[in-house]
Symmetry: C2
Subunit: 606 residues, 2 copies
Amino acid sequence: MTTSDIRTPASNQNADANSAADNGEAGTSIGWHKAYVTGSRPDLQVPVRQVHLTNGKAVTLYDTSGPYTDPNVDTDVRRGLPPLRENWIIARGDTEEYAGRPARPEDDGLKHTSPRGGLKNLDAVFPGRPRQPRRGRDGKAVTQLAYARRGEITPEMEFIGIRENIDPEIVREEVAQGRAVIPANVNHPEIEPMIIGKRFLVKVNANIGNSAVTSSIEEEVDKMTWATKWGADTVMDLSTGRNIHTTREWVLRNSPVPIGTVPLYQALEKVDGRAEDLTWEIYKDTVIEQAEQGVDYMTVHAGVRLPYVPLTANRKTGIVSRGGSIMAAWCLAHHKESFLYEHFEELCEILAAYDVTYSLGDGLRPGCIADANDEAQFAELRTLGELNTIAKRHNVQTMIEGPGHVPMHKIKENIDLQQEICEEAPFYTLGPLTTDIAPAYDHITSGIGAAMIGWWGTAMLCYVTPKEHLGLPNRDDVKTGVITYKIAAHAADLAKGHPGAQDWDDALSDARFEFRWEDQFNLALDPDTAREFHDETLPAEPAKTAHFCSMCGPKFCSMKISRSINEQFGGTEAANATADEIAEGMLQKSKEFAASGNRVYLPMAD
Amino acid sequence: MTTSDIRTPASNQNADANSAADNGEAGTSIGWHKAYVTGSRPDLQVPVRQVHLTNGKAVTLYDTSGPYTDPNVDTDVRRGLPPLRENWIIARGDTEEYAGRPARPEDDGLKHTSPRGGLKNLDAVFPGRPRQPRRGRDGKAVTQLAYARRGEITPEMEFIGIRENIDPEIVREEVAQGRAVIPANVNHPEIEPMIIGKRFLVKVNANIGNSAVTSSIEEEVDKMTWATKWGADTVMDLSTGRNIHTTREWVLRNSPVPIGTVPLYQALEKVDGRAEDLTWEIYKDTVIEQAEQGVDYMTVHAGVRLPYVPLTANRKTGIVSRGGSIMAAWCLAHHKESFLYEHFEELCEILAAYDVTYSLGDGLRPGCIADANDEAQFAELRTLGELNTIAKRHNVQTMIEGPGHVPMHKIKENIDLQQEICEEAPFYTLGPLTTDIAPAYDHITSGIGAAMIGWWGTAMLCYVTPKEHLGLPNRDDVKTGVITYKIAAHAADLAKGHPGAQDWDDALSDARFEFRWEDQFNLALDPDTAREFHDETLPAEPAKTAHFCSMCGPKFCSMKISRSINEQFGGTEAANATADEIAEGMLQKSKEFAASGNRVYLPMAD
C-alpha cells in the first residue's frame, strides 16, 4: 500500500512518533506510530504500524497491538474495547440476541455449595455486562465459511485483504475452500479481523492462562495485551482452577485478537478434576458458556479415540497433551468411544451458530523425539481428516493442530500428510521442538522447527516459551516466546516468497549499511532490546550517528570500506557484468579509483 | 561406550557428583563429573562427561570443558595446561625445535618507537615461554592429512575415534579424503584432539576477541574457558587493537580446544590500519608469528579476487566480512590481484610445516537477505574450490567458510554447491541468519539456519550471539550463543541420524516422564537455568520430587495420566498392533482397567 492511503490519527500527525506509541511502558521508546487504512466504508479502519525513518521514508508493517497503541482511543479494562464489528454482524441480519446461559459459581471453579450465590465478582467487574449474547437465527450457520461459500465478501474479508495487502476475493476464495479460517465469534465484536491460512502471512499464537498453582486474573489480561504488543496474532486462554470464567470475560472484552480456549479444561474443573465424571452434557454446557462469551476458536480433542489409546502405551512419554490425556482417561474409564467423537455433529451445530472455529486438537502428539511420527499420532490425524470433512459440511471453519516434538528430518512428513488428509485445512503447530535436551531454551529448540514447518505450509505457529516443561511463563517469557515465534513466522514468510515480506528486511539492512542506527532500532522486531544492547557497549549519544559499530571499532569497519566501493562502482554496469567482463574493464576502473586518491579505507579522522 | 570402559579420577570416585564439576562457579551445581576413557596407550585419555541419574544409570556425553572440570588437575592460567600431545608430536620425529621469531612491540599493536624495547608484558606473564616453537623438518608437511594419506592412524585419530564413538580407521579415511579436518598445530600440544567433518558430530565455534573499543586480556581468556565449559568445540580469537599477541599467547596456552584466528586483522594493525600498506611480507611474517604460537586454523580470505570486487557494488550491504573488505580495499588501491591469491602456494608451505588448517574465508558472503546467493558470493566460492585443491596438493588440511544471511529456501543451494565445488571439504558456516529484522535476537535468526545447514552437511557452525550487529558480547552473550548453537548442532545430529545422538534426548525424556526432576536438570544442556526456571514457579524442595509440574498443577498432569495408561498397556503386544487389532482386544483390556479401580486420573491426595 502507498503511504497516501494511510490515515494518521489527527492528534498524532505532528506528534513525536516515539511518544505516540509509548503504550504506557516506562522506559520504552518505540519510533513508530499507529495509523489506519480506510476500506470501502468509513467504519472499516485497518490498523498499521508506521515506522518513520530518518531519511524521510516510512515503512508500513502489520500491527497486532490493537487500540492500546492509538493515543486517540481511551482504553479502560473495565469497559473493554469498542465493538468494532458489531454493526457488521447486526447488518447481516442472521443473528439474534437472547438471554443466554446465566453464569454459575462452578463456572469459576467455585463449589456448588459456595456461599456466593452467583458470580458477584463478574458483576462487579462488568456491571450489566456489555451486551446480551448473540447466535445464529433458526439454526443458521453464521460463519465466514458460509458467507464465503455463497460468494459474499464480508467486511471482515475486506479488512483482511487490506491488512494482508491481498485481493479480498482471494481471501473469500481461500476461506470458501477451507484453506483459511477467520476466527471471529459473533460475540467477540472487539477483534480486528485476521486470517489463518497458508497463502497469508504466517501467524503466531501466544498461550496465557493461570493454573491451580499460581497466577492471577490481572496478570493474564496484562499478558494478553503484552503478547499482542509484541506481535501475537491470537491468544489462547488455557486457564484452569479458579476464576476461569471471569478471567476469560476480562480477556475477551479487552482483546483485539481472536481468543482460543480448550473447553475441556473448564469442563473438568466442573467435575472436580475427575475425568471419568465428565459427560457430554457438561462439556456441551461449557462450550455454550464460552461461545456466548465470545471465544473465537476452540481446541477439541475429538480425535483421541478409544482404540488409539493403547497405541501410546509403549511410547517413551505417552500422552503429553492435557486434553488428550483427559479424553484417554475417560475412554478407558468407561470402556467407550470418546463422547466428543460420538457427539461431533451436534457440536458442529453449536459452533456454527456462533461462528466458533474448530481447532481440532492433536491429543496424541509426540512429547519427545523418540515418539515422533508414530502410529498413534498419525491414526489420530486420519480421524481429524474425517472430522474436518464433517465440520465443513456444517459450515464450521476448521484448523488442525500439529506437534509437538519432531526431529528436523521428520517435520515435512507432518505437514505433507496433514495437508493431504485434511484437504489443505490450515495447520496449526506447537513448534515442533527439534530436540529434547534443552529445557529452559525450548523457545529456540521449537523456533527452529516452527520456521521450517511454516515455510512448508503451516499457517499458524503456537509459541513455546523458555519456561516450557519447567514452569509458568512470566511477562519476560511471554515476550521472548512471541519474539522468537515472530522470527520463525517471518523467516517462513521470506522462504515462501510472501509478497512484500522482504521489504522489512531490506529496510533494516539499508539502515544498517547507511549507519542509520535509530532506524535500525525502530525497524527491529524488538526496538527496546536492540537499543539497550547497543548502548551497553557504546552508550554515548554520538554513537547513534557513528559510522562504525562496536564490533570492529572506528578504523576497522567493513561496511565503511564497502560503502566506498559502492561509491566507486555502484549503479554502473559492473554489478550486472560477469567476472570476465569486469576483469577487462578493470584497468579503466582502477585508474578512476587512483584518481580519487586511493582513499578506500578512510581513517576515522576523515 | 560402556560405563566399564570409563576411568573416574581417583579423588572423584566417592565424591559428590555435583561438587566435582563445580568449576569454581559460585552458585552452580552441575550433576555430572569428568571421567576418561583410556585408549591403546596410557597417555591417551579421552575426556567424557558422566551424568549420574537418580535411577542408578549413567549417561555419557561428549565433553569440551578441558582439564578445568577435573578436580585432579591443578590449573593455573600463568602456567597453562599440560601439553597432552607433546610426546605424540615428538615421537613422530618429523618436527624440530628452533629459535623462532622474536616477539616484537608491533605484534602487540605498540608503536615501533615505543619505549618498551620488547614485549616485557609477555615475558612477565610466561617467563621463558613454555617451549621453543616447532616445525616440520626439511620442509615436510607434518599434517594429519599427510599421515592419513599414508595410512597412519595417529594418536589424535584414535583419540577422536573414542571421543566420537567411531572406528579410528573411519577417522583416518575421512581425513585422508579431505572430508574432515583435525585442527592441531604442532605448537598447540595442549588441545584435546577433535574433528570437523560431516560424518562426525556437528561442531560449534565461539568467537572471542577484544576490539579497539573495549575489552581486556583477562576477559578474553575467561570467555574462552567459559565458552568451552558450555560446549564450544573451537574458539576463534578475533582480537584487534592492542595486546593481541599477548592475548593470543594466554588463550592458546590455556585452551583445551583448537584456536582459530584471522591473521589479516593483526597484519593490518601492524600497518596502522592502512589496508593499502599491507604487503605479502608483513602478512607472511604474521602467519609465522601465529603458527609458532600454536594457532590451529587460520581464516584466509584468498578468494576475494580483484575482478569480484565490483560484483559487490550494487549489493544492498556490500562486503560485510572484515577480512573481505580489507582485501577488496587492497586490491582496489593497488589495481592488483590479491597478494593472498598470488602467494597461496607459498602460504600452503608455511601452514603445512606447522599443521595449521586452512579455513578459506568467504570474504564476499552476503550481509543481508537481499544479497544471498548472488554472483559475488558464488564467484568467490568457485575460487575457494580451486584453492582447496591446491591446499590439498600441499597436504594442508582445509575447510571452507560459508554465509552469512540467507533465507531458508536458499540455504540448501549453499551447502550443495560448496560440497560439489570443494570436493566435500568441511563446510564451516556463520549461521546463516534467516532474516534481518531481529537485531538483539540474531542467535535465534541464525540458529534456525544453522540447524538446517548442519542437517544438510555443514560440519561446523560459527555461533552468533545476541549482540551481533549491535555490540561486543559479554559473558552472558557468549553462553547464550554457545547454548543456542549446541541446540542447532544437536538437532542436526539427530536429523542426520548420527549414531547415539538420540540417546541424550531419550535419557532426558525418560527422566521427564518419570518425574525425575534432578535428572532432567542434570541432563539439560544448561542445568543451571533449567533448575532456576523450575524454582521460580515451585521453589520448595519437595517440588523436585513432585509427580507434576507447575504448568498444569497437581491434579491436571497429562504425564501422570499417561503413566497410568502405560502401566495398563505397556510392554504388551498392544503397542505394536494396528488400531483394528486393538479394537478387537479392547474389551478384555477395559475389564482389566475396571478391575484396577478406574484410577487413571489420580487425585493428588493419592
